[in-house]
Amino acid sequence: MKRLVSVKLVAILFGFLFLGGCATRANYDYTAFKESRPTSILVLPPLNSSTDVNATYSMLAQVTLPLAESGYYVFPVTLVDETFKQNGMTTPADIHQISITKLREIFGADAALYINVKQYGSSYTVIMSETRVTAEGRLVDLRTGKTLWAGTATASSAEGQNNSSGGLIGMLVKAVITQIVESLSDKGHPIAGITSYRLLSAGRPNGILYGPRSPMYLKEGSPTP
């Protein structure tokens, strides 16, 4: 009898695990996002938790494409960075501390994107070398302070070239990356481009929603995988 109970218990636990697994993977809670529906996004210079000094600007240089093609106005990243510098804010850590009221006042943005680059660079083992870039992002409504969305993405040189990072923005990113590979020695930069695309393109599972400048705006039921 005791044994039967424990078998049942295990079965139930398994059931929960299974359901839990599905739920966390498939259903991001977009309630706050849908209430807010931002039209413009201010991307702050990313925090750099990696060991490579290039991470912040390598990422910042590549965030505009996926967000703009997803239908948002993205504030000019170079000029925004310049404005912060002219006001004595020289590090991402300082900039991430600025109050949302102040950001809203100067830029008039609906939302701000806070990025943290967790990993950027190459590791070498006897068998192979790998370049990996991992980043997390958080979109915050500058009118209410609410977090609208948060996510994380990673990309690695070890994935191979034939993986399906398909879709329109994927194709655009690939075209840009081909140019980079030919012109730059910074191996992390093209990988950061893929990470940025995975983190910030609408229409991906648990990704951001389409913005008002996209023909897909308000049409997404649930993001297609």
């Binding site: 910042l60 240089a61 494409l65 703009a68 000019p76 000029l79 960075d81 400048r213």
Partner: protein, 108 residues
């Protein structure tokens, strides 16, 4: 067969067209951040991208005009700075609060 494949790919692509013409814009931005490219060199590259976009009847991405404006400012051409900022605002009214802030500074 090849034609068929091309058609098939084109079929997928026409479902959703890019909203903007990018060219090498983001690479220019990275060159700017790294300091490998001076303002004159960037202006030339961006003006070329701008011409190609216009020739194809495509829109330039958000921030493109504003970045160009900054470069013109750095090379002392404040008339073009103002012109490009105004164009950014016209194309993207979402930028108006920030552009007005920048124009106010430029006029000081």
């Amino acid at each position: 067969m090849l034609l068929f494949l091309v058609n098939l790919m084109a079929g997928c692509a026409t479902k959703q067209q890019p909203l903007y013409y990018w060219g090498g814009y983001q690479l220019q931005v990275y060159g700017h951040f790294k300091g490998d490219k001076g303002p004159e060199e960037q202006i030339q590259a961006l003006e070329e991208i701008k011409e190609k976009a216009a020739a194809g009847g495509k829109a330039l991405p958000p921030g493109f005009r504003a970045h160009l404006a900054m470069l013109y400012g750095q090379t002392g051409r404040s008339d073009r700075l103002v012109e490009q900022l105004e164009t950014e605002k016209r194309q993207f009214p979402e930028s108006s609060v920030y552009v007005d802030f920048l124009l106010k500074k430029a006029n000081k």
